[in-house]
């Protein structure tokens, strides 16, 4: 009987001591948490690593919120023209107010340019519209990054010839655009374009292939072209081959469509060249049609930095419409007091080979603001 009693006492003592130990540990932990917690938080707050992580998380969160917002930019330009043509009064022109809306959603990008041209003042009722100016979507597309060097773009797309893409008053040197632009090579199509970038050794290349509606009226909505308009552009980047050049791009493009409204097959080839060093730049572009209405044109535009943000340029333009040949010499200055503001002044001499056409001198000045 003694042994079980001893055992019971031992177990009871043992159990009680374990309870005491557990209670002690519990209170000890509470004390540690109570005393140590504020100290740890304080240490974390002063730890540069912790601060860096908090800062990075805050920035990442802000960026995420900004990415979810729609980006809105645009430009405004205002021009003044005077020339010595008969019956041609000088005039001001509030040319563009354009709004760029863009947004990135994962691997998708959406971009639209809405253009209000010539102080648009339009009213419409049913099928009747009246007023002045133009409101249009210059281009608008959605792009999906299929692979790291392969994108697919759908929508109203600018065709990838040099001045077609780089035509904005805030970025080009002159007020007037070259004579041939948009008259030989079409400016845009509504359809699908694939862009593929590849580097081979020191040479980079960009290939664009597109299929879309032809140049028929209402081409953003419908098409009278059974086979669709097709084309492509190969642009070779040679700046790493010629180390003395900051930029050396050569592009060649072709566009083809069978358009009943244009009177049959239209085949156009275009080439462009951009060479630049720190102070000098040479732009050249040409295009010609192979069939149908014969048209061709080219321009050559060397420019140089005079000082700081002041550039001077000369451009020789030629455009042959098949009926007459227009030529123009332009000399001008382009000044950027800040990256968003461009002030331009240019003089030009124009000549038309048609018999009745007159030769005249012109002056153009403009200011363009990006916002």
């Amino acid at each position: 009987m003694v042994a079980p009693m001893r055992t019971e006492r031992y177990l009871s003592w043992h159990w009680r001591s374990r309870q005491v130990t557990a209670l002690s540990l519990f209170f000890l932990m509470l004390a540690v948490i109570f005393f140590a917690a504020p100290h740890t938080a304080g240490a974390q707050a002063s730890d540069p690593e912790f601060q860096s992580k908090v800062l990075h998380s805050t920035i990442a969160e802000l960026e995420q919120r900004l990415d979810q917002m729609l980006n809105l930019n645009g430009y405004f330009d205002f021009e003044y023209f005077i020339d010595d043509k008969r019956n041609s009064p000088s005039h001001f022109r509030q040319h563009h107010v354009s709004l760029f809306l863009s947004k990135r959603i994962g691997r998708w990008r959406i971009f639209t340019e809405l253009e209000f041209e010539d102080g648009a003042d339009l009213s419409a009722s049913g099928s009747q519209a009246s007023g002045n100016g133009t409101i249009k979507m210059e281009h608008g597309w959605a792009e999906f990054a299929l692979r790291k060097r392969l994108d697919v773009r759908v929508g109203k797309i600018l065709l990838p010839q040099y001045w077609n893409v780089n035509h904005y008053p805030s970025s080009v040197l002159s007020t007037h655009r070259p004579l041939m632009v948009r008259k030989v090579f079409p400016a845009d199509t509504t359809g699908l374009m694939v862009q593929w970038r590849q580097t081979v050794g020191l040479m980079g290349s960009t290939v664009n292939l597109y299929v879309g509606n032809g140049q028929s009226p209402d081409s953003s909505r419908t098409d009278d072209n059974v086979n669709k308009a097709t084309g492509g552009n190969l642009r070779v980047h040679l700046d790493r081959v010629f180390s003395c050049l900051r930029k050396a791009d050569v592009g060649v493009g072709h566009y083809s469509e069978f358009s009943p409204s244009a009177g049959g097959t239209v085949d156009v080839t275009g080439v462009d060249l951009q060479l630049s060093t720190r102070r000098f730049e040479l732009l050249a572009e040409g295009a010609f049609t192979h069939s149908g209405n014969s048209r061709e044109g080219f321009y050559l535009q060397p420019s140089t930095v005079l000082s700081g943000e002041l550039r001077s340029f000369y451009r020789y333009d030629s455009y042959d419409s098949g009926i007459s040949r227009l030529t123009r010499h332009t000399v001008g200055l382009n000044y950027r007091p800040m990256p968003q503001v461009t002030v331009k002044l240019e003089g030009n001499h124009n000549r038309d080979s048609a018999l009745q056409a007159e030769e005249y001198l012109g002056l153009a000045t403009s200011v363009a603001l990006f916002f």
Partner: protein
């Protein structure tokens, strides 16, 4: 004769002291990258492609994430001496890119410490900071060939 030599020496010393040496210009910024990026030195041409977002991936497939200082002498020096255009011309380039292609410029921060923190936390990131910045061990210094 000695007087002439002294004057010539004085003028030469003044010119030497007043003219900014090329090395000092190069040292106005430090190029840094995330510790895991697979490069230790880069050429100005490659940096040009990185900061114009034409080079989009490192050789190991990690996306390239360029980051800039938004202002200051380091920014001016980096664009002027490495990229080969003025900092303003770089802004103009991005205005053009935004209009023609919807492309946005690299992220930018106003302080070097923020650039370092961003690069440390972002795989594939590369950027430049002011030369007097203590970069520490968290980022990798990259030399410009």
């Amino acid at each position: 004769m000695a007087r002439l030599l002294s004057i010539a020496l004085l003028i030469t010393s003044c010119i030497w002291l007043l003219s900014p040496p090329a090395l000092a210009q190069e040292q106005e910024f430090i190029l840094i990258g995330h510790p895991d990026i697979p490069v230790t030195h880069l050429s100005p041409k490659t940096l040009n492609r990185i900061f114009t977002k034409q080079l989009t991936h490192w050789s190991d497939g990690t996306p390239v994430v360029p980051v800039e200082l938004s202002r200051g002498a380091a920014r001016e020096a980096f664009f002027d001496h490495v990229i080969g255009v003025s900092a303003n011309a770089a802004k103009t380039y991005w205005i053009n890119q935004l209009m023609t292609n919807g492309q946005r410029p690299p992220k930018s921060f106003s302080m070097s410490i923020l650039v370092i923190n961003f690069i440390y936390q972002t795989p594939g990131a590369i950027g430049f900071v002011a030369a007097d910045t203590e970069t520490g061990e968290r980022v990798r210094r990259i030399s410009v060939d």
